[in-house]
Symmetry: C2
Subunit: 456 residues, 2 copies
């Protein structure tokens, strides 16, 4: 039942390409039957259902899909991480609770890492390992929505990672959104000012690069956001899930310009979430970092004491939220992440260079789509061309997103709609390139070519 | 900064015993100075503060403490777990997200394990790996307090693991308690009926064996609880943190009487939490199991849909709570737990026999305390003598719990008060035996002897 991304042999592939042309597109009848059998609603498919659907069509049609629906990493974990975690296991650390605010080694490594690559000045105490940066987002939202009376709404810069909105819901918080693509620069700051004017917003959450538009907030925007948040007692929650993956700039050298942009360089009301899933190909252990603003960390809030028995923000985060949800994250995995961060900081492991493989895949996939009449939905990042990263956003003339997604399914290509990611660009699809390997490229090419021939 | 429980050499120890007698008890002045420096409140110490205090006195007094304040496991993780997790790492599974409702192997192993040792009949789909059984308790309480309108209170059988109450607070739920020691058998069921009569209780949570009284609910009590919960739409949350550690019975043979008692054999509204921390000496990876009642799993609740967008209980647990808090638990650790469960079920690894070491330590520590005039606070488990397990509860004539705890600190013995565990027996202490090794026994003996001499 495991993903086995590296197994597609080229011999099998060549055979596949030969007979594929007679099998795709699968008929509407087959698709209808599968929808009838599963009971899925074609207008409201979850990623998981899309995934299942692709598997069923794949079986029925006897061909492999080009899988682009899941936003999951697909590069091997570096050997240094394997070695470090195995050593920690040999030292018996499966048998000992992790300190719930993280092992000192990782807290120190994290503080040096964010100095080297984000030019942030924080102490080890401000670095809290969490069960994936996702847990850091959960706890941050919990605190954001409960630290000031009446400020129980989280504002998102859309499109956004859908789980962040589910988190707010589970926490009993309300949510609002601003479409990032229509609002950049000064216009973005104005839109935020307008949205928060009712005084009910406790947190502002965004991901940069953005999933899936790949827009990246620039330093002026981050500075403006920090000012707004500080002035209005709003917690800025910055999700760096795709750390350093704006490959238009070279962030690979530690302790040197350019640095990865972060809200952490401005203002005081922020938490920055550092994910290891993509940047370090380390999604399995659920181990990321939350970096808490030093000034916020020691600040005290009467409302937080009422909410979780801890007045000080830093205590509310670790002794409040982290302690009650999981009491820390894997002891042995923390040593693996420590090693990867330390080696990166010393310039001995180049995590940017490794993840560039994604950018390269995106470039090739983008060219194939554009060759066959597709349009890139989010093609600009302010005045610049958007970078090639982990996702592409595509549309085709005459189709809305849902119909295009279903039609491509018939051709053995799985994607999700932009609508389902909270985007207002309902004509488009989110295309994740992580599982498209070299052998898939000619298959994708043939299938899209056929799609275009049938849609002239 | 790691605990290093196995390092006390006997040579060092013998030296220590020689000069100790001149150093303890440390003076009241030293203790006062330390309280002044730390700012701690002696009447309201957290476990963490007690731990820190012991370290400070230890440094000042230049002697090692007999550490009994932390309820943390202290047996080496079995080699089969090390091997299995290292193999999973070698297979590259740090690089792949875990399925967030658990790897199929562990779900299957869990269902066989609870059949073999608890005589429970569940399918793999009812077994959900979580980041420690603690996360299972968090999610269970979240659902319990939100699945029926107006039932937003969790009822605990006290004393209880303090974190469970903090969880309810973080979730915005109310809590009430029943002192278990005063209420057993028919009286317990009556006390529960009385407490729930207002209709505001959504969940009933207990741990068996109980932390720290080591009381164990019997099958009649569990059956009665199940009936009350089913009749009144209350979720029974059973915390088996110390699985099988009632050593008065021999639970070591799989698929044979006696079975470990569980609410899961009765009724339908229950979640049973299986911790691997103590039973499998596996606290580091944060990996436990939640077993969801098959009948409850597929039941639908309008209120849950409103709460977290999922109507079906099982979906609300995994796609609701688990997904938004951590999106699953360590991929590689799940293979280690799978291996330990499978080997146990096959009778190839005897986890009961291994954890009996704790019972043996408890017996020796108990005898030393009783020799020197201490009384066992919770000495009965209904009509039987309570078993020797992970904790002891002790008092000394003429002392209340806080003063006794502080006085023992001067003798290099750290414990916590029963009051701080939610017990109404304010005269007593909770004594955790996990870190008391063979070399500590004579030290403990000498110190308590001296304590008695000074308190005649």
């Amino acid at each position: 039942m495991l993903y086995n991304p590296f197994s597609k042999g080229s011999t099998k592939l060549r055979l596949e390409v030969q007979y594929l042309m007679n099998k795709i597109p699968v008929s509407k009848e087959i698709l209808d039957t599968i929808f009838e059998e599963t009971g899925y609603n074609p207008n409201n498919l979850s990623i998981r259902e899309t995934n299942r659907l692709a598997t069923l069509i794949s079986k029925r049609g006897e061909f492999d899909f080009v899988r682009m629906e899941m936003g999951i990493p697909n590069l091997p974990t570096p050997d240094i991480a394997k070695k470090a975690e195995k050593e920690a296991i040999d030292r018996g650390l499966q048998g000992i609770y992790p300190p719930f605010d993280g092992i000192p080694e990782l807290k120190l490594a994290g503080s040096k890492f964010v100095k080297a690559f984000l030019n942030m000045n924080v102490e080890p105490e401000h670095v809290i390992p969490t069960c994936g940066s996702l847990q850091g987002g959960y706890i941050s939202q919990a605190l954001a929505g409960n630290m000031h009376k009446g400020k129980d709404t989280i504002l998102y810069l859309d499109p956004t990672f859908p789980v962040t909105r589910y988190q707010a819901k589970f926490l009993g918080l309300k949510s609002e959104g601003i479409e990032l693509y229509d609002n950049r620069g000064k216009k973005l700051l104005e839109a935020i000012e307008q949205k928060i004017s009712k005084g009910n917003v406790g947190g502002l959450l965004w991901s940069s690069p953005n999933n899936p538009s790949w827009s990246c907030l620039n330093e002026n925007e981050l500075k403006g956001i920090a000012e707004i948040c500080d002035k209005n007692d709003i917690l800025a929650i910055e999700d760096l899930a795709y750390l350093g993956m704006d490959f238009r700039k070279d962030y690979s050298e530690p302790n040197a310009e350019p640095y990865i942009p972060t809200v952490g360089k401005f203002g005081k009301n922020w938490v920055t979430l550092i994910s290891a899933s993509k940047a370090f190909s380390f999604p399995g252990p659920r181990c990321g970092l939350a970096i808490i603003s030093p000034r916020l960390n020691k600040q005290e809030f009467t409302q937080l004491e009422e909410f979780c028995g801890r007045k000080r923000f830093g205590h509310a985060f670790s002794l409040g939220g982290l302690y009650v949800t999981t009491s820390g994250t894997s002891h042995t995995a923390q040593f693996a992440l420590t090693e990867m961060l330390n080696k990166s900081t010393k310039g001995e492991y180049n995590f940017i260079e490794v993840t560039k493989a994604y950018g390269e895949r995106a470039r090739k996939v983008r060219e194939i789509f554009l060759n066959y009449g597709f349009k890139q939905v989010y093609e600009k990042d302010m005045d610049e061309t958007v970078g090639d990263g982990f996702y592409l956003t595509m549309s085709y003339p005459g189709y809305d997103g849902t119909n295009l997604m279903l039609e491509l399914m018939k051709y053995g290509i799985s994607t999700i709609t932009l609508k389902s990611t909270g985007s207002n660009r309902h004509e488009g699809l989110r295309v994740c390139i992580s599982f498209v390997n070299e052998n898939d490229m000619p298959v994708l090419n043939d299938r899209l070519k056929k799609f275009m021939e049938n849609n002239k």
